[in-house]
């Protein structure tokens, strides 16, 4: 069965929601590049829950709403409102990479709005001794190897399908990177560590053991800082975008967490 597509609106920002599966609701905020196309990890996840993949402003399916948002807080507020508009208030919130940074903010600022939290290699932390890699200062031909362990996995995500608009597709790809830069530039440090103590829900932290963007060691800082119970799982053989490298492993880890 294919996923369904709905357009939701929250305070003037429109967003695409892709849904698949049944059972407990899970709101999914995609990572670097957003979701220009459906990915197999969501199929696997949809066998365990109702997946609601919500496009963030500026990311594919998220229009140009990012241009109205001038701060991390405004992005977090828009994310909170879109999650609610998608009918996922109080449900599990899962955010990967740049989407993970916003999932953390929502859980910290509006603790009652998140039932469970899944963070997969989230942006937001910064350790001077082991800083994240700058994902926006990269040669185009280097990004694939930076993001994934599986050669070609990232490039396949952003490759234009045969029926795509040859002009608009590459612009949409750049727009997704712009959207993340808008709230994470220049070094992706959001100082979320000051707010981690406000996160009280059960939290699963997933990290690819070969993540070359966000150091896997950051998982410890989340475990120590988040007030609620935290489970940390490492995805072996996965890079920053573990959802592309090891889709089943990511989905299985989330499923175990949902059942717990």
């Amino acid at each position: 069965m294919d996923h369904s597509e709905t357009i939701i609106s929250a305070h003037g920002i429109e967003s695409r929601v892709w849904r698949k599966g049944s059972g407990p609701k899970l709101a999914y905020l995609a990572g670097f590049a957003g979701l220009p196309k459906w990915i197999p990890m969501l199929d696997a996840l949809a066998t365990h829950c109702e997946v609601n993949a919500i496009s963030l402003p500026g990311f594919p399916g998220g229009g140009r709403g990012h241009l109205q948002l001038d701060s991390l807080f405004e992005f977090a507020l828009a994310t909170h409102d879109l999650v609610a508009a998608a009918g996922c208030r109080g449900a599990t919130l899962m955010g990967a990479s740049v989407g993970g940074a916003l999932a953390m903010e929502v859980a910290a600022i509006w603790p009652d709005s998140v039932g469970k939290l899944v963070l997969q290699s989230p942006f937001g932390l910064y350790d001077d001794a082991n800083p994240p890699t700058d994902p926006w200062a990269q040669r185009g031909d280097k990004v694939d190897a930076l993001m994934c362990e599986t050669e070609g996995a990232y490039n396949a995500l952003i490759a234009a399908p045969g029926n795509a608009d040859a002009v608009e597709w590459p612009i949409e790809t750049v727009r997704a990177r712009e959207a993340s830069a808008r709230y994470l530039w220049p070094n992706s440090a959001t100082h979320v560590e000051k707010r981690l103590g406000r996160i009280v829900c059960p939290t699963l932290v997933l990290w690819g053991d070969a993540d070359k963007v966000q150091p896997p060691g950051y998982a410890g800082a989340l475990r120590d800082g988040i007030a609620g119970p935290v489970t940390v799982e490492t995805i072996a053989g996965a890079g920053h975008m573990a959802e592309l490298d090891r889709p089943d492993a990511v989905a299985d880890a989330v499923a175990r967490f949902l059942r717990a």
Binding site: W136, R139, R175, R177, E178, W185
Partner: protein, 422 residues
């Protein structure tokens, strides 16, 4: 026409293996390559050269802003311009410019430019660049997604700070100031002429036309590569009903003059290859921060790839932008060299074809010595300039040139001048 002498202030002692063993001349160029004691001499040589150009009769001397850059040692062009304001008398001072989105608050630019205009007695040209991605987004960490919005707001704030008589409050999207009331105010009323250096974006052309500002195309790739951009600019001016006054535009060109063609060829080889081989060695990962280029410009770029190829074929102006060998540098028109008559003939033809009334000349480039720079400058002033001066002036008025205080009202500056006697 106006002939303007432009200095980039390049660090002149980058090593021979720079291109092979260093990733970039910009952003992360290594500090071990910078010798402050050598830079002491470079800065003083460069400022001598600018003052020499003023003495030689150029209409303006020009400085610009770069950061973390091995070919541009002016993070603050205002510092240099301040000294030049004291040590020159009639030459216009073109600060090209201050990247206004970088200043917090932008009223700092309004203040410093007003200071320069007062010190110089109204000789300032105020350049408002958006700034390169390397300077703005990487070296200074400005958000590429907000840069242009910040630029436009900074512009509005600066213009209001220059022109509003009473203290006012500014409640912008990015800047809030309860009390804006700059002291000093500029000599030139309502404000110094504003010039905008930009790439080839239609939005910038339209904005310059709407605001009645000068548009400047400051390419390092010469007249052949620049022709298409300037043709696009004038096509747009025509389309929106503006006159074809050549003083609406400025253009940058590298030039090397000598007594004979062979001498010119020989003299400028090393500095040209130094500049194009080392100074433009920029790591491409710093070239395109997401959001820096507007979607309209991205779209135009993608859509015009086929159209551009056809146009280049039609106009015979397909120009490589990667030449580093001297003959290719000359063939592509990055640098014009020759005898004074040869250079004058080419510049006259180029200025007419491009319809550019403000010609900015890089007569120092790369690792060119002070001695060669002054030779080039003097020969140009004495033998090329007279052949270009009359162009456009019988037909067009330059509405965008500074209007200084009357000479009799100006301060008698007694700053020491040692260089002129050399």
């Amino acid at each position: 026409m106006k002939l303007m002498w432009f200095h980039l202030m390049p660090y002149t002692e980058l090593p021979d293996d720079f291109r092979d063993n260093h990733p970039s001349v910009w952003v992360d160029i290594h500090s071990s390559l910078f010798d402050p004691q050598r830079a002491h001499h470079m800065y003083n040589d460069f400022m001598d050269e600018l003052e020499f150009a003023a003495d030689c009769g150029f209409d303006a001397i020009c400085v610009n802003e770069h950061h973390s850059n091995g070919y541009g040692l002016m993070p603050s062009p205002n510092l240099i311009a301040s000294s030049l304001a004291r040590r020159t008398k009639d030459t216009a001072l073109c600060v090209m410019g201050n990247s206004i989105a970088l200043y917090n608050p932008p009223t700092r630019v309004a203040e410093e430019f007003a200071m320069l205009d007062c010190i110089s007695g109204g000789r300032l040209i105020a350049g408002f660049p958006v700034g390169s991605p390397m300077d703005t987004c990487f070296a200074l960490g400005q958000n590429p997604s907000m840069l242009r919005q910040r630029y436009l707001e900074a512009h509005d704030l600066i213009m209001k700070a220059w022109t509003e008589k009473d203290t006012f409050a500014f409640n912008g999207r990015f800047n809030q100031q309860r009390y804006v009331n700059i002291w000093p105010r500029p000599v030139q009323r309502p404000h110094p002429p504003v010039w905008v250096p930009g790439g080839g974006s239609v939005e910038t052309w339209r904005w310059c036309a709407e605001m009645e500002y000068v548009y400047c195309y400051l390419s390092y790739y010469g007249y052949k590569a620049g022709m298409q951009t300037m043709m696009g600019f004038w096509d747009e001016m025509k389309r929106i009903g503006k006159d074809m006054n050549p003083y609406r535009a400025g253009f940058l060109q590298f030039v090397g003059v000598a007594e004979t063609e062979q001498e010119a060829y020989d003299l400028y080889r090393e500095p040209a290859e130094y500049f194009y081989g080392r100074c433009l060695h920029v790591d491409p990962r710093f070239a395109m921060p997401p959001g820096y280029t507007t979607e309209a410009t991205q779209r135009a770029g993608i859509e015009s790839q086929v159209g551009r190829a056809a146009k280049e074929q039609r106009t015979n102006i397909a120009v490589s932008k990667s030449a580093r060998e001297y003959d290719a540098i000359l063939d592509n028109g990055y640098v014009i060299t020759g005898t004074p008559d040869q250079v004058a003939e080419r510049l006259r033809a180029i200025a007419k074809e491009m319809n550019v009334g403000h010609l900015m000349l890089l007569l120092q480039f790369g690792n060119m010595s002070k001695q060669l720079t002054q030779y080039n400058t003097k020969l140009f002033a004495e033998k090329v300039m007279p052949q270009l001066r009359d162009l456009f002036d019988d037909e067009w008025e330059d509405h965008w040139w500074p209007t200084p205080m009357a000479d009799e009202n100006r301060a008698k500056v007694s700053a020491p001048r040692m260089m002129a006697a050399e």
